[in-house]
Symmetry: C2
Subunit: 228 residues, 2 copies
Amino acid sequence: MPSLYHQPLCPQSRFIRLALAEHGVEPQLIEERPYERRREFLALDPAGETPLLIDDTGLIVPGAVTIAEYLDETGGVALGENRLLPSDLAGRVEVRRLVSWFTQKFYGEVSNWLLTEKINKRFMTNGGGAPDMDLVRAARANIRYHLHYIGYLTQQRNWLAGDKLSYADLAAAAHISVADFLGDVPWDEDETAKLWYARVKSRKSFRALLNDRVPGITPPAVYADLDF
Amino acid sequence: MPSLYHQPLCPQSRFIRLALAEHGVEPQLIEERPYERRREFLALDPAGETPLLIDDTGLIVPGAVTIAEYLDETGGVALGENRLLPSDLAGRVEVRRLVSWFTQKFYGEVSNWLLTEKINKRFMTNGGGAPDMDLVRAARANIRYHLHYIGYLTQQRNWLAGDKLSYADLAAAAHISVADFLGDVPWDEDETAKLWYARVKSRKSFRALLNDRVPGITPPAVYADLDF
């Protein structure tokens, strides 16, 4: 059984948990707090970040994008019509563009700040303290244009990158889900984006994520409500 | 002829210029300053970042990693033994891990600060001003452990990710080259890393990069010296 080192509210880990579930892979989940810089974890990969996958042969696959490519290369064709990285060149470019958008741009402008300031700082023994509310406010301002971009794309397409569900939807929904857990998604501002998210979070692959809880933080009622 | 929107001292653009040259593709180079947020450029890709490739069919391929994957999918097999993303699974994981290390981690901890503070701020009409020397100092401190990591890896392997030159070497050398242009690589600290870099910068694909100049900045003498 493969092992996945993850953090319950790390958006990059959540993207890969969704990707694994859509590929029908059930990993052993091992919770890791990267900010603790645990020696045994750094020995697996010196970058020391979640997610990190160890497959059945012992191959260490670190980082969300590298894991997503690995899963497509080992199991993508078997998914047939449901492949998450399309087979055609232009489709692959579009999915990778959007995966990069959410795993890097959205992460840098929204989810990293929310995760660090509102969640991780609660558990840090060094470097913790009160959340920096300037960063939280910046994240809340930035998320609005990302939400409108999701709405803009899904007005023209069934799913974020085209006619079919892809890694783009999983990456975007994983990142949005962390902000949603914290009550920081202004859903009223974009009805189309809200409908898209309701469709993604209704998928079976999403269930385990919605059940995750963190001590001391109660998500808003809509968080796990599949009908909003 | 494909077009590449790039910045001469943007490390992500340099990575792709090297990758194109190794693939034998000579693009039309179009200089773009992403911080100007030029409307026509944003219309090509709303992320608005260099590099961005437009291929002969008109397909827009934005972002260094997406372009690298595209080049491998369209021209990787034709490179035969010199393929830059290996054909075996473990090799691909290792190359992608290191590409991500340099395009994200090194970029975030070193080259983005050097590029923004020491180069881009000279040309910004809005938001420019004096470089923030705290950030420059942080970049100079951080580059040391990256240099040692390169030295550590190339003590055990011919090239960064294994026996053969790969995208990992091109990404690393592209990022290092920008710091080197600015005189910010402490070469004395790691002889093995220095030897590795001398080998990469001697490649034909590197020549055009070493000839780039920016008004008002003179690189140190060693920058374009193939023997250091």
